[in-house]
Symmetry: C2
Subunit: 121 residues, 2 copies
DNA sequence: TAAACATATGAATATATATTCATATGTTTA
DNA sequence: TAAACATATGAATATATATTCATATGTTTA
């Protein structure tokens, strides 16, 4: 009841119906929005950012990354899975060692833009 | 004890000490990493992405956005605060209405790169 | 000035997620 | 083949966060 009221109230006092209609049509498909949010979500964590930054310099095995970041092997492995899921990293097995690398160069571009924004205030 | 053991074990079996040392030096400052992760974190949510996308098309007031996304005014207001905190949006008051706009063009660039990645598989 | 209104915000709640712990899996080597 | 090892992963836990609800704040208008 409270919810209904406030929505009704809001709808009647909307300032620009025309803008809302137009923007609604231009809004990207729900699935793309979802994928995009998953991608940025995966970038929104210091541990994963550090992993990606490290991999942008060199391929590294799980144990290397754990040592670099002073974190447990398990924690790194879990985070690498997140990065794999959004295709930010890929890996090659060499014996029992698994080497991770960046999947493509988009990451570096996104990084660059992000740093631009952060530095620019 | 378990933790100590596993870290010690890992350190002795690290594959590339040289790489680790070098990458450690090249790692961006902790504060930049933090800011960057906060920026991407703010992009890692569908509601906020939709808000940003909408604002890239037109300035809109809070009530417009709530109507567009079919969400409560409060929810939108809370999310706008997150976006303000990372300087992705700014606002102008006109009477009792508050119009929000994108703070700069970086967002659009980051968006574009993100969509490239998502579409490219 | 009082009422109407747009927005902001604190507290509560539900949900998502990062890390740990224990252990499974698969490969190499003695 | 058994032991050593690198990595992956499920369950548990602690913490972060999105939304709701109630209400405060500040502006306009009757």
């Amino acid at each position: 009841m409270n919810k209904q009221n406030s929505i009704a109230k809001c709808e009647t006092t909307v300032i620009h119906d025309d803008v809302i209609d137009r923007v609604k049509e231009e809004m990207p498909a729900a699935e793309q929005m979802y994928d995009l949010s998953e991608l940025f979500k995966s970038l929104g964590d210091q541990t994963r950012l550090k992993i990606l930054f490290a991999l942008s310099k060199n391929r590294m095995c799980v144990c290397d990354i754990a040592a670099l970041l002073d974190m447990s092997q398990s924690a790194i492995s879990h985070q690498l899975r997140v990065l794999r899921n959004v295709r930010l990293v890929k890996f090659q097995k060499e014996g029992k060692v698994v080497y991770y690398t960046l999947d493509d160069d988009h990451v570096n571009e996104i990084f660059k833009q992000g740093l631009n924004h952060v530095r620019h205030r």
